[in-house]
């Protein structure tokens, strides 16, 4: 009797796994960016404010401890200088980028024009609950003009792109997520490839030809080829290169310029869809 029950349960389990497997295969052909249904939005509408409140309380608590109990002025000055430094670094990279472009007589937007790109500032209210996949939820959504596929940056460089939009909230797919792919290029060599997330803190640059002269420390920028990310935004730096004796490509590991563990504020770049 006991064996019969167990046998029935295993059969149920096998059928369940088979059904899910078939559905996954069907689902695999779809893109990640999908339109949300009304009940998806309703659930996020109810749960996101709790996430927001919880994160605000935590961040508020951490700030109180940081700012009032330890070196109020020094902390503020330091934060200002670090932020200023990051902005200057980013400007420097973009200026270098402009020089490269000018030298090849391309007619592109000037640095000032780039800064004039309209952006929506947003706060991070929650992070991905899973360990391999990397998304962030922000407190700006459809009502604020955020749309699917819009690029997201901060002072340090590329953060990711919008994959889901709710009324007041949206989700960002970080460049470190294994589902993320961005067209990129090496600033010095101009070699082009695709940045893919590795599910940890690093990314890899795919499809870089084996003969491309890439070195550790080289800066990786958005190429602007896919018409999503504006050209010349810093993605990260090369930290490791592996060239095999055979094959036509090389494996390049990138450390993103953005520290995703400490990210609190981001800018959604408003681009024409």
């Amino acid at each position: 009797m006991h064996n019969k029950i167990l046998g029935k349960k295993y059969k149920e389990m096998i059928v369940l796994l088979a059904v899910v497997l078939v559905l996954v295969t069907v689902n695999a052909t779809h893109r990640i960016e999908h339109q949300l249904r009304w009940y998806d939005k309703a659930i996020v509408f109810m749960t996101a404010p709790v996430q927001y409140a919880l994160t605000s309380v935590i961040q508020g608590g951490v700030r109180v401890v940081d700012n009032y109990f330890f070196l109020v002025d020094v902390k503020e000055d330091n934060e200002y200088i670090v932020q200023e430094n990051n902005i200057l670094k980013n400007r420097l990279h973009q200026l270098q980028e402009s020089e490269y472009e000018n030298s090849r007589l391309k007619k592109l937007l000037s640095f000032r024009d780039r800064l004039a790109i309209p952006m929506i500032s947003a706060e991070v209210i929650a992070k991905d609950p899973s360990s391999v996949f990397k998304t962030l939820r922000i407190n700006k959504g459809e009502k604020d003009g955020v749309r699917i596929s819009m690029p997201v940056v901060n002072y340090n460089g590329v953060v990711g792109q919008i994959i889901r939009v709710f009324g007041d909230y949206s989700d960002i797919l970080l460049i470190t997520d294994p589902n993320s792919e961005i067209d990129a290029m090496v600033q010095e060599d101009r070699a082009r490839g695709v940045i893919e997330g590795l599910g940890k803190d690093n990314c890899r640059l795919k499809y870089l030809e084996r003969l491309d002269d890439v070195r550790v420390g080289d800066v990786i920028l958005t190429s602007g080829m896919e018409k999503r990310f504006p050209k010349g935004i810093v993605i990260g730096q090369v930290v490791d290169i592996k060239k095999k004796r055979f094959g036509i490509t090389q494996e390049v590991t990138i450390k993103p310029s953005v520290n995703f563990n400490k990210i609190e504020e981001v800018f959604v770049v408003v681009v024409n869809q």
């Binding site: 994160t55 609950p129 360990s131 294994p178 599910g199």
Partner: protein, 168 residues
């Protein structure tokens, strides 16, 4: 616990994980609360109820991550199936059993994710595996406490407890 409490627990686990745990802890030191939830329902609820709760938790999670509902459901159904198999065949009342019965399904599911992602090169895979191992052990340790708490609530409210699954 009744259905309402299970639903609330799943939602609170996701919110807590996304807003609190991931704010303070790196992912490899943060327990995977949804896995704990799935393993608990696999071990204590009937097959159909367990699957429904698992799919509900998975759906809620899919609204907070980059993976679609169907793919996520496969990962958690693997956890569910392994937890169910372990609880049906090797149940004892020892702490080490409980630890292993939480750790094994999580490990199985996460290994599947790694293979599914095809994180090709062996170094990346090895790094991920270390992270995953750390997360699994921490989740199993946290799971013991959560299981005891759940079981206590179940006993108090006269609901099913850990032993009942074997007698089913």
């Amino acid at each position: 616990m009744n259905i309402f409490l299970y639903v609330c627990t799943a939602i609170m686990f996701i919110i807590f994980q996304a807003s609190f745990l991931n704010y303070f802890l790196p992912s490899y030191l943060s327990p995977d609360l949804i896995s704990v939830f799935v393993i608990y329902v696999a071990m204590t609820k009937s097959f159909r109820e367990g699957v429904l709760f698992t799919l509900f938790a998975t759906y809620m999670l899919s609204l907070n991550t980059s993976v679609g509902f169907l793919n996520l459901s496969l990962f958690y159904i693997i956890s569910f199936a392994v937890a169910r198999y372990v609880s049906l065949n090797f149940y004892t009342n020892e702490l080490k059993y409980l630890f292993l019965s939480i750790a094994l399904p999580i490990l199985a599911s996460k290994l599947f994710i790694l293979f599914w992602l095809k994180l090709g090169n062996i170094i990346v895979f090895a790094e991920h595996f270390l992270y995953m191992l750390s997360e699994t052990l921490i989740t199993a340790a946290a799971g013991i406490i959560i299981f005891k708490l759940f079981n206590l609530i179940d006993i108090k409210t006269g609901q099913i407890n850990l032993e009942s699954i074997v007698e089913e």
